[in-house]
Amino acid sequence: MNEKREVYPFAAIVGQDELKHALILSAIDPSLGGVLALGDRGTGKTTTVRALAAALPTIEAVADCRYRCDPSDTTRLCEQCLETNRASQAKKVSVPVVDLPLGVTQDRLLGSLDIERALVDGKKEFEPGLLADANRGFLYIDEVNLLEDHLVDVLLDVAASGWNVIEREGLSVRHPASFVLIGSGNPEEGELRPQLLDRFGLSVDVETPMDIKKRVEIIRRRDTYDADPSAFIRKWKRETTKLRNRIDRARELIGFVTVDDDVLALIAEICIGLGTDGLRGELTLIKAARADAAWSGDTVVSSSHVRKLAPLALSHRLRKNPLDDARGSVRVERVLEEIYASRDAA
């Protein structure tokens, strides 16, 4: 499916630096909790997300497993992989990107009774849904703010645990479903529930470039791509490989990146200053800063990494202040300036 399709190269995307960076970080550390891209239409959100998956290194998966179980991680195998010995047979597969269409049914999302088997053999068997397809990959929800509530609930449950548990229609199935949640939408068309907002690791405000030159460049590239996709992809192959290698290196390095107590204190200070609810903000910021350090080849997280990532990790976790119309990122920036100024002074 995805493998065969031609995708606009990630490296060829003009602008969108914040979104690209956020996506790369969550590719380096999938436990970051995904990316929420808020912004207007036609800003290239979808293109960017698709492009990233195509640029990522392939992953090892159990050959006959529908859930793409990781043979090297025995704690996250599905029931069949645990029972049989097939985990020894591995193959390389590309990272899946699964689209969650707005009108999706709960059956389709979670998986349901296999009607064919039920009709033909009178047997109850499980037919995996989109969550199974998305295991170890990306689950992309365009217009996430318009998603129906009951689906949001289901998604939150699974995203939190990394496991999809089905107890319905006489079925009892449990399979791994850990995925990087990528959402996009226009907040003016409907607010996101705070629970769902909080679940996203990083949030990015996506804006249409208003610079005419930039717009011209975007249209030019897109036009060239449309005319001959394969040639365009070939032209960008070097860049794509470079990106892939850099992500690979960062993934290896991230295990060695350390965070000093001083930086931890700084992160706590920022979160207290902003009054974010819960501790998820702190945790995400630490992880994001660590991934950013790995990406830039550093082995120690410095306050500059924190400074760079704080708006992305925290801006969507602020309480709504009716008197302050400023966007979350602006409010975070304000607090950051205060804190960094006072630290510099001290």
Binding site: M1, R5, G39, D40, R41, G42, T43, G44, T46, V98, D99, P101, L102, G103, T105, R108, L113, I115, E116, A118, L119, V120, G122, K124, D133, D142, E143, L146, E169, N186, P187, E188, E189, G190, E207, T208, P209, M210, I212, K213, R215, V216, I218, I219, R220, R222, D223, D226, A227, D325
Partner: protein
């Protein structure tokens, strides 16, 4: 190609629109026959009638035979996908799929007349198909993915500035045509068919592409898709005329065919110049069109734009100048009223398991589908094993979505006292709010207070143009029949509530009522009436905003606002944020 050259003959704007529509067909045909062979996508604003039929006929003529299909806009997206053929599956004992309408539309064109707003789910579905060029046969298994080169003709039958097609999908359509003003006599005689060669898309130099981008921005189209589509139109237009580079005429044609009819803001001030410049370089009939547009849509002369700009708070000004303001799209993008699930009426949104009493409607297919897996098992315990075994727990009932739209009712004080003070500003503010309501596709109503009685000069409508025109005709002078105005507003609000919309009220006044409910003078009685009417109105619990337009806040407007339990905003300190926030908050 003489028939392509619409510029050589001068003609009415209506027949120019028709010619453009036909030109779009030519271009579409060219695109279909070109090597990339993308099927064309259209958004056509038109009512059902002979003009539309004639246009569709022409379109079908240039497309491959039998490649068009028609669909009702109220269908569900899942209906378009194929699915499990239940009877065949039961008979064959294995899974049998039937192909959906969509997959049969590969390299074809789907015509969708919209007589009501398209469901978001449907729009999202089409959007995804257009974006990816793929669809899965049953909408379920990714394994059944197949290519889908889909052409779309969406006929938006919204009248009076009303639009049924969501911005999201509109953004992805290439040609935007308006046939709503065209009548049968505007349709010229059909040209003889020329032998079209296969056009090669032409190249576009940077300067022209820049121009295209700039115009698209000035029309409020922040998205990157419209200029890209316009570029394609321009390069095919050049290609059809055997030119290898795009020239200005191609660009202006592309702007006409692809951009102008979906403009979110009509360019005013400096944007006008940009467009004027555009028009100058193009053909005469377009110029005519453009000038037509600008006379009807820009603000009236009596209201000096600049003087209002000067007196309004700077933030309001920012919003007014928002043609190039990137925040606008965000702030003003569509927001509909609350939606309510219903079991009886509205648009279908799938079905859920449940008993079908109280007028709920049974979803037969879903019910059968739910019962299908159990047939083998149930038959073994059934007295009538030959019948389809349906149990109560299989019942699925249909659910419907009733969108509750919102209506903003403006009550504008045009009395002598206000006129002297700040009628111009009041109008400017209303205009801004109207613009916002329009961008959100809300309904707007306008009641004026002047002389002995108030008057509903604009019943709830979605047409900004109409509202603007009415507003420009609003003259000042006379008394302030505040009580009467509030009574009118109450009637309109109640009416809107009955229609299932959520009304909100914006009152622009200095609050010094001097005409009583009976139409008599006398400040004391007038004020008393106004206050009691305001209390009555407050009981409707309609969100209300009072904008005090008096020069010195004399407290009258505040008193009225309190009686209305309304949010009170004195104009000197009002910011666009305050106003638009207040309106938005009040509409929730």
């Amino acid at each position: 190609m003489a028939h392509l050259d619409t510029s050589s003959q001068t003609c009415s704007p209506q027949s120019a629109a028709w010619n453009d529509a036909c030109l779009a067909i030519e271009l579409a045909a060219g695109m279909v026959s070109s090597p990339t062979s993308r099927m064309p996508t259209f958004c056509v604003k038109a009512q059902a009638g002979p003009v539309l039929d004639a246009w569709l006929e022409r379109l079908q003529d240039v497309l491959p035979r039998d490649s068009t299909k028609q669909l009702q806009g109220t269908a569900r997206f899942s209906d378009l996908l194929g699915g499990l053929d239940l009877s065949a599956t039961l008979a064959a004992g294995k899974r049998v799929y039937e192909e959906g309408l969509l997959s049969r539309c590969h390299e074809g064109v789907l015509i969708i007349p919209l007589s009501a707003a398209m469901m978001p789910e449907m729009a999202a579905g089409f959007g995804a198909v257009l974006e990816s060029g793929r669809v899965s046969v049953d909408g379920l298994s990714p394994a059944s993915d197949q290519d889908l080169n889909l052409g779309l003709v969406i006929i938006d039958q919204g009248e009076d500035g009303e639009e049924f097609l969501s911005i999201g999908l509109r953004d992805r359509l290439m040609f935007h045509l308006d046939l709503s003003q065209v009548s049968l006599r505007d349709i010229g005689k059909r040209d003889e068919k020329n032998n079209r060669g296969i056009p090669k898309p032409a190249l576009c130099d940077a300067a022209l592409l820049e121009e295209l981008c700039a115009v698209s921005l000035s029309l409020g189209l922040a998205s990157i898709r419209p200029p890209h589509q316009a570029l394609q139109v321009a390069s095919f237009h050049a290609g059809l005329q055997d030119r290898s580079t795009v020239n200005r005429e191609d660009v202006s044609t592309a702007i006409r065919l692809s951009l102008v009819n979906r403009a979110l803001v009509y360019p005013i001030e400096e944007q006008d110049e940009a467009l004027e410049e555009e028009a100058n370089t193009s053909n005469p009939d377009e110029e005519k069109q453009e000038s037509n547009r600008s006379t009807s849509d820009t603000m009236p002369n009596e209201m000096d734009v600049n003087s209002i700009l000067a007196t309004l708070p700077p933030e309001l000004l920012m919003a007014l100048k928002s043609n190039t303001n990137k925040r606008r799209g965000k702030r003003l993008a569509g927001r509909s009223g609350g939606k309510r699930i219903s079991f009886t009426r509205g648009k279908p949104v799938g079905s859920i398991r449940g008993s079908f009493d109280h007028g709920k409607r049974l979803d037969l297919i879903a019910t059968l589908r739910a019962s299908a897996p159990w047939q083998t098992m149930r038959r073994q315990h059934s007295l009538n094993p030959n019948r389809i075994q349906v149990r109560k727990r299989d019942f699925h009932v249909k659910r419907y979505l009733k969108p509750s739209e919102s209506t903003t009712i403006f009550v504008v004080d045009a009395s002598g006292s206000t006129a002297i003070n700040r009628l111009a500003e009041a109008k400017g503010a209303v205009e801004l709010l109207l613009g916002e309501s329009y961008a959100r596709r809300d309904h707007v109503a306008l009641i004026s207070l002047r002389g002995q009685e108030s008057e509903t000069i604009l019943p709830p409508t979605r047409s900004l143009t109409r509202a603007r025109r009415t507003l420009s005709g609003l003259r000042g002078g006379g008394g302030t029949p505040l009580a009467h105005g509030l009574q009118k507003a109450m009637a309109v609000a109640q009416d809107e509530l009955r229609k299932g919309r959520s009304p909100s009220l914006v009152l622009l006044t200095d609050g010094s009522a001097n005409v009583s409910l009976e139409g008599l003078g006398g400040r004391a009685q007038a004020m008393e009436d106004a206050i009691s009417m305001a209390r009555g109105l407050a009981s409707l619990e309609v969100a209300t905003l009072v904008i005090d337009v008096s020069r010195s806040a004399n407290g009258h407007a505040k008193t009225v606002a309190d009686a209305l339990r309304a949010k009170y905003v004195p104009m000197p300190f009002a910011s666009s944020k305050n106003i638009s926030d207040a309106v938005r908050v009040s509409q929730h």
